[in-house]
Amino acid sequence: MAVESSQLPSTLADDQSKRLLIKRVKGMVRSVLIHAGLIPAAFVFLLPFLWMLSTSLKPDVQFYSYPPVLIPSPLQWSNFPDAVTYITFFLYMRNTLTIAVLATVGVLISSSLVAYSLARIPWPGRNILFILTLATLMLPFQVTMIPLFIVFKNFGWVNSWLPLIVPHWFGGALYIFLLRQFFMTIPMELSEAARIDGASELKIYYSVLLPLSKPALATVAIFEFIARWRDYIGPLIYLSDQELYTLSLGIYEYQSQYGAEWGLLMAASVMITLPIILLFFFLQKTFVQGIALTGIKG
């Protein structure tokens, strides 16, 4: 058709539309192929949640039924109140929240102060301190685990929340690193101008740096809160009174005592997972930025 046509412009237009068509078909094939890879992967990633949720609403007799039942009928809602009662869910939740909130507040204040020192105040020792900070990230927690336990035991802090909270008031290496990187991106001229105006470093810290660093601070807060909410080994080492247990430890202990009460256990699992997932949905952007920020330096 294009060959028969005597008008050059229309040939060009035909060619172009043909190429466009090919490109569109190619693009469609490509995106179908990609979704064909992504959808099964998504299903696999979702499966534990779906099964958790499904089991949390199942009566005992359906746990192992074949073929598997995804949506149980009738829905056994009573697993939830049962889990709350037998696992003393709200007690553990209050404990977990107390630890998580206090540790998060501490880590925010201390890490941001330290990061300010490393990023914004030129003083001789700061590079050494920074290298030491990074070095602690390489140190397996098992190396410090035993002496710390002994120290806290000598303080009389074992079987209390203090070992799970107090260390966080002295800064966290990863957060110091993350905040330092962020503080460095804020123009130095802002600090210098404020110094010339006679502002103290503390004033510059809280009235110049902190307001400009809300996204990074939010990242630190969320990461730390979730880390403490999920923490398992800390409470395992330090807490022995059941009234002090956190959710993770409490649910684990319940399972090891009473075994495979899957309806209850999955109901409890849903209840400890849901708050974090909700947090993630609302603060997705902060999360993604934070993860990228921690991984900048290869």
Binding site: S31, H35, L38, A41, A42, V44, L47, P48, F49, W51, T55, F63, Y66, S111, L113, V114, S117, I121, P122, W123, G125, R126, T133, M138, L139, P140, F141, Q142, V143, T144, M145, I146, P147, K153, P167, W169, F170, G171, S200, L202, Y205, I226, R230, Y232, I233, S248, I251, Y252, S256, A260, S269, V270, I272, T273, F280, I291, A292, G295, K297, G298
Partner: protein
């Protein structure tokens, strides 16, 4: 903090700017300087000392020289099991994690619909408390009757014994660990989004096909992310604790095949109260981590590509 203010309020002439900066720098960093000394440096040194002693955490440590280390290597088959399981886990799971995370990120990076939805779904397992994850996996992987058995039953087969027999327990845990690669997927995705488009355009002009663009543009630009993933996941794999501990109650069942290094160390320290012995294990782990990390750093020169140099 109050002192920081006072320093500032001192007459300027008395203190040079350099001195003031040093004082303020130290004051702002003081929580971490104390923390570093109290929670990192002192315990690291103390644990090195304990590792040469017999110590139950109550009576004073008794110096025994290198006997803990000798004992570990010559007279402790559980230790060797733990080393084997942990190295197996690291060697098998890390390359798989890199391949899967990179692959999924590549697919996500194609400008497709619902990218955010997929990304969210892949990230979710990393948020779940380990207790919940371990329990639901334990339930799903119940041999012959759990959800995982369903496809096998459909074909009239019994399927593997998963976590209940020694030859399957290790691969099963490797498989389970592949669920938790959401963070890495996000890192690779961020890396992919930073690949300058003009590199691809230049490759197009040269007539490069998809594969050669992948090999010569995408992979080199992403090597710093792979490097980061490698270093962090070596440390992560050597510290693998909560999930196998919760799934087996720390027993290492079956036949010690899920007895990972951290679990055995924890048991030595807090169940058997041989804290000197456990400290020796901790230091071996530390040295091993250092050596492996150093080797990876050294190798970085050969394969990690930095566009325009580092910061």
């Amino acid at each position: 903090m109050a002192t920081a203010l006072t320093t500032e309020n001192l007459p300027r002439r008395r203190l040079s700017q350099g001195t003031r900066h040093t004082i303020n720098g130290l004051l702002f960093a003081s929580p971490w300087i104390v923390g570093l000394l109290a929670f990192w440096i002192y315990p690291t040194l103390a644990s090195a000392y304990y590792s040469f002693t017999k110590y139950n955490g109550v009576r004073n440590p008794q110096w025994t020289g290198i006997s803990n280390y000798v004992e570990l290597f010559t007279n402790d088959s559980e230790f060797l099991d733990a080393v084997y399981n942990t190295v197996y886990f690291a060697v098998v799971s890390i390359p798989l994690a890199i391949i899967f995370a990179f692959g999924l990120a590549l697919m996500l990076n194609a400008k497709i619909r619902a990218q955010v939805v997929y990304r969210t779904i892949y990230f979710l397992p990393t948020l779940v408390p380990e207790v919940a994850l371990a329990l639901v996996w334990l339930f799903i992987f119940t041999p012959h009757s759990g959800l995982i058995a369903a496809p096998f039953r459909a074909f009239g087969m019994r399927g593997p014994c998963w976590l209940t027999c020694a030859e399957w327990a290790r691969p099963t845990l490797v498989l389970l660990a592949l669920w938790i690669i959401g963070q890495q997927i996000i890192l690779y995705l961020a890396g992919l989004q930073d690949v300058p488009q003009d590199l691809y355009d230049a490759a197009d002009v040269d007539g490069a096909n998809f594969l050669s663009k992948f090999r010569n543009v995408t992979v080199p630009i992403l090597t710093p992310v792979i490097f980061f993933h490698l270093v962090t996941s070596v440390i992560g794999a050597l510290n693998f604790f909560a999930i196998p501990y919760i799934m087996t109650g720390g027993t290492g069942f079956p036949a010690n095949s899920t007895l990972f290094y951290s679990i055995y160390l924890y048991k030595n320290a807090f169940h058997y109260l041989v804290m000197g012995y456990a400290s020796a294990m901790a230091w071996l782990l530390f040295v091993f981590t250092l050596v492996v990390t150093l080797l990876i750093w050294r190798s970085a020169r050969l394969w990690v590509f930095y566009a325009g140099g580092e910061e």
